[in-house]
């Protein structure tokens, strides 16, 4: 076992465990915190795969922005109580069944598909530095990129509108 594999295994274990914990913890605050750890471990995976830019963006966006939003919302709603009633047994059973099913089916699909060649090519070309990514984004994917910005703008306006208290309400 190489060091890298060990690191991968540890990271994977953290990812899965925290993801589970995030779902199982009864207190939403705890969930959010576990999720933050989960996202950090995923950032670790990115680093492992040598995509530093994405790792950083990931930390900023998910752990930084999204999870903060979550936490704010939870606190805003005052949900840090463990007052959630469990779903009926049948629903839980359904959840477990679908969890198992989708897991098994997807894994089976991958196993059944053509085996991946053991050799991994390495071109040696730089393909994931910030510089390259920037060029790709702004050349080939310029239009989607701009659309993404419009999307974010619209989302922002939408959010503001949605969270504003309606004045016409009695």
């Amino acid at each position: 076992m190489s060091t890298i594999l060990i690191i991968f295994c540890v990271l994977a274990a953290i990812t899965l465990a925290t993801a589970f914990l995030a779902i199982f913890s009864r207190n939403p605050i705890h969930s959010a915190l576990y999720l933050v750890i989960c996202f950090f471990s995923i950032a670790g995976h990115y680093l492992l795969l040598n995509s530093q830019f994405l790792a950083i963006v990931h930390v900023i966006v998910y752990s930084g922005a999204i999870m903060i939003l979550f936490l704010f919302t939870i606190m805003l709603m005052n949900l840090n109580k463990e007052n959630e009633v469990h779903k009926p047994r049948i629903t839980r059973l359904g959840a477990i069944v679908s969890f198992g099913l989708i897991c098994v089916v997807l894994i089976l699909v991958f196993i059944n598909s053509k085996p991946i060649v053991g050799e991994y090519i390495t071109t040696g070309e730089d393909y994931q530095s910030i510089k390259v990514l920037g060029k790709v984004l702004l050349n080939e994917y310029m239009v989607p990129f701009e659309f993404a910005s419009i999307l974010l703008l619209v989302a922002m306006i939408g959010t503001v509108l949605l969270s504003k208290k309606e004045k016409t309400e009695k």
């Binding site: 779902i23 477990i96 393909y127």
Partner: protein, 106 residues
């Protein structure tokens, strides 16, 4: 430069992301709290993102990473709007238990 996948193997990433995705599905089905459901969705998105990156390395191509970038943008927007909706639902109903949100019932 040594390809990292030589050491780990893309299969492992696939399994990891499948399991992560399934956990996300499980969370959506299992929990009633809308916030947690949202979190589960984020987990699923991340599982996919991880796979994108892994395959990006596998193909030695930037395309996958660009997709991750876009999916992050969409995820950010989605979370922002989604949480805003949740907030307004909470304001109106006083609860975000998705079992109470059955206005779609036929």
């Amino acid at each position: 430069m040594n390809n990292i996948l030589n050491e780990i193997g893309i299969e492992n990433y696939i399994f990891l992301s499948v399991i992560l995705f399934s956990i996300g599905v499980f969370g959506v089905l299992y929990r009633r709290n809308a916030i947690i459901v949202f979190m589960s969705i984020e987990i699923m998105l991340n599982a996919v993102n991880l796979l994108f990156v892994a395959f990006s390395t596998y193909h030695q191509d930037a395309q996958g990473q660009v997709f991750v970038f876009f999916s992050m943008a969409v995820a950010a927007a989605e979370v922002a709007v989604g949480l805003a909706i949740l907030v307004s639902i909470f304001r109106n109903l006083g609860s975000i238990d998705i079992n109470n949100l059955k206005n779609l019932k036929g």
